[in-house]
Symmetry: D2
Subunit: 337 residues, 4 copies
């Protein structure tokens, strides 16, 4: 059984990347009200950075995502087996995770919630979301398997063991998916958090993208947590500050793309192509100018016969997830150790 | 790195299924010269059968495939975990493999080549093509791992051991792919055949299809062997009666589909959709009536930006290949034991 | 690094099987005070049953295990690939799990703790202990992966969904091992139990045996939970009624044996062998009659040079754990559905 | 089903290591006629080297192994996850493989057989023996999966491609085991060699050792090829210069140990222990002085009840074989590139 789209009956060109959502607005360079956009590249870095900030409810509605910061690292060569490049990305990723943790801690302190003053003293619970037995969904579980946890040392050698060594108190869990556990991920995490008292959750998840080119080459960091319908397997309940009681930093990498998205992209490109040629210009405009209903019907008809909510993944997905999970676990080590 | 299309520079909407090639001719019901087509369903069976016969050079040129018989079993529920259904398909597959072996033996005898008179006395070498470490290409190797070989019993308990028990003399090999062995598959097989003297090769390979719907649900049997550019990994040299010296029965199941094929299908469906509605009829006709060069340019432009020769596969490909490899090995057992 | 014995410095011929502990008492047929023993075989069954009951503190001290019932199923052919036999064992296992659940429920009710009156209404949390990435320790996690959980249906289709269909409310979790999570298994389970409110835990774990012959062929059921130092990976804290607040039924299968145990067995057999021959009788008696200190020193010297706390496992452990995990998950289904 | 010892009915304390065979002679420091022994350590190296040379038929009979050179690298920390150490061992291994290749080439030239003059021009076929689906037997197949083969470049870019770049012409194959292929490994290799014309075979195989301590920490290089009954899975026919027509360099690492060997070691150590203490001295001597028949009967009785021909392996064998296969493939690269 293939990954199904949550809302059957409707089609949805789903992406978990705020970056792609932002790109889908007409008039690419234009402004979207309530959404800020910044693109840059650090000196000598081969990684392209894009920060999408959803500033208010208007932005949230337009983007279909909650308010907050979405930082995207685009690193095209991640698809290749170049250890130096992967090390470079881990380092840059680590820096951005550290920044985001700093911001989350400040926000907590503003609200007068207890937080350690130094990131080195933070207690962090890393959560590997997804289904370890479905390769493209196994990214989160694999990241956890590479992490060097420390929390048990604190318990074995006495409180203060980590603090003295300026180690964070790091723990990790792979909660599994509801079809295997019969429990909401949020329930499991709430229980574990109540019992083990971390200050912060770092959740790692495999995402769905719109563009094949982004599979395994883009990393999204966000301070907004994990939301229903996001991730490769759909989560029914949020993993957020509100639901878990502590801030949630989410790290995601797209590993699947909806077949519907490929079709949608094709139609869009087709319209542009038709427009750009004098002889076919009228036709592209014709489609673009169709009433929304007609356009919807056209795309729907294109989509339905073949692929309702099908997702696809590259043939070398095992390798890709294997490599990426190392890069991300190293990024987390970089950030917290 | 994703599976690359053999001929870079050009696009090619590749399919290894004769069935899909045949469907791609305009005027679906019409005749293609040099190609016969027969569709049926055996009584009470849930499997749809299609036999494409390429009868002469004209047919071969039109289809881009060599002369011979291509039998396709379409079994939509193969994608599901229904053991009874899989057993049913194995049985039907076994029957058709047995028929095809019978035809191949007759053809050999017509040419005065030595062949045992009874299928039960055949010496068969099963060959699992593909790369065991890339999931969608691992179908062939996995089938071999499930086979009950018997040839060594003949050597251990004396010649005639198999004949007395009416067992075939079955051996199996996983030759690997050239990037891992440094040798052509044909070289390895020629050596093994010269040394072990089988009468017939059964080659199992993962294929590329055009339609996502066919992934894991369609089995193609052919008496034409394996040809360059077919299969999920491209073979540089043929595995055929000519190259190996003994007949080659090939069993293939599509496990990948080119992203290009998805785009191509979309454009075709779009043209039909535009045609079928009065208001957009002109537009569909317009595209269809474009000069071939223009049409080529249009599709090329749609294809290139995103996905040159990318192939995609479903997220649950591990499970799919696991189940199918059992179904096919059982089909072979059914046919020869 | 191989599995290490918890107490370094001393040697310990460890077994997690109460059955083997009981066998190790001198004078095999004799009585051990505070321990009852019953052996039988159900009509026509190929499974040998042994029930060891530790009745009081004296028994517990002698056996080095807590008071309670330890039921052992010995099924020698489990090592083989005989599906009918595995189905037979699953059924018999299911019956005994059901009995033990019934006893646990009665005990709860005696103490005036709330329990559903019908086993069909029980809420059960299955826990797969062990490290999924070390094959002989992966038994528990693999059992969970085969379980049909139902608890989420209750949440999706409304309370009472399971009760109406006489389904148990089954959930499952793989908590991981402390070196990977940084958390005690007991902490994770306490949190999950508090949040999801099951009535009973069924914990599945891989065990260490003394005899190679028992690897993969013996299943131990107990109502005493899991104790520190038991299982293939040592648990630091108990998983018991006391620590978790609800009864814990433990299912264990030995998958490793200490090299020390092999040596110990050899020495014992040697003494018996020497005794049974007239010419060497004196020598066996001599060793047996050595002062405990001397005997200890002798065995210690035999053990230390080569294998401190090494554990070993059969070469086909992948297959063995794969098959057994199905047999046990089917046994659980048999018991609760 | 566990690995069985070839000769049932008899017991055999099998080892594939010439080193261990040599150690088993009484009077450890003494001479064995027809066998030379040299032990050393290269400057600053953490690897202990032992060269056993079986010089004549007398030596071969005493050792139960054919004449030739057996070089053993003992590298205790190989069991650990220390990348620098593994790199060090790969380098040293590479140097010794290169030496042995040089010697084999000289021997060929002495016999007036055609051989390239420079090792850089050699055509080498690497053969990964063993069963890829049984972890401790998968060492050979895994080594091949890491090798950088080059022979196909020669075919793609023209003869001389490798020579100009001073690359060896390297190819690799995983022939499988007879129970899976129905063919003798020697048959498959003879066919492949005849077709692809290598100058030399490098065969990699998992071995059985006598001592648990050697599992995964000892590498044996020999110029004598592979012989029936050696390796983890028993080969029925030799892979030698005689059977294959070209020299065979074999690389082996022990991954299993017979349970019988553990018992045997125990008895030996026990005799020594008894002897070394004044109070028990007589007893050790008594056993040692038993008539061979009686001694045989004693050990046989100790062995049979529990473990006929059982082999055991460490619980972390997956990891061990994974790491070692890299170390060996790097050693081969070091030697030939």
């Amino acid at each position: 059984m293939m990954l199904k789209n949550g809302r059957s009956g409707e089609f949805e060109i789903r992406t978990d990347l705020a970056l792609e959502e932002r790109e889908s607005f007409p008039g690419d360079g234009g402004e979207v009200s309530g959404v800020s956009l910044r693109e840059w590249r650090e000196e000598t870095s081969r990684v392209k950075l894009t920060e999408v900030k959803i500033l208010d409810e208007r932005g949230a509605k337009a983007m279909g995502k909650p308010c907050g910061t979405y930082l995207t690292l685009e690193a095209d060569q991640l698809a290749e087996q170049d250890e130096d490049y992967h090390a470079e990305v881990s380092e840059e990723l680590g820096r951005h995770i550290r920044n985001l943790i700093g911001q989350l801690m400040k926000a907590e302190m503003k609200e007068d919630r207890a937080m350690p003053e130094e990131p080195g003293n933070l207690k962090i619970l890393a959560v590997g979301l997804g289904n370890a037995s479905v390769t493209p969904d196994a990214l989160g579980p694999k990241v956890i398997s590479h992490l060097q946890v420390t929390r048990h040392l604190e318990q074995q050698y006495g409180n203060g063991f980590c603090r003295k060594r300026e180690l964070p108190v790091l723990s990790g869990i792979v909660p599994g998916v509801m079809a295997q556990t019969g429990m909401e991920t949020a329930e499991i995490l709430k229980g574990v958090i109540r019992e083990t008292r971390p200050d912060l959750v770092i959740a790692i998840d495999a995402l769905a993208a719109r563009s094949i080119r982004r599979l395994g080459t883009t990393i999204q960091l966000t301070d907004t947590g994990i939301h229903p319908g996001s991730g490769v397997g759909n989560h029914r309940h949020s993993l957020t500050r509100e639901s878990l009681g502590i801030p949630v930093l989410a790290i995601g990498v797209p590993t699947v793309v909806g077949a519907a998205a490929i079709v949608h992209d094709t139609v869009n490109t087709m319209i542009q192509t038709l427009n750009s040629s004098m002889s076919t210009k009228g036709m592209g405009e014709f489609i673009r100018d169709m009433a929304p209903d007609e356009q919807y019907d056209l795309i729907r008809e294109l989509l339905e016969p073949e692929f309702g909510g099908l997702y696809v993944t590259p043939p070398n997905i095992d390798e890709m997830v294997g490599r990426l999970s190392f890069t991300i676990s190293e990024g987390i080590h970089e950030a917290v150790f």
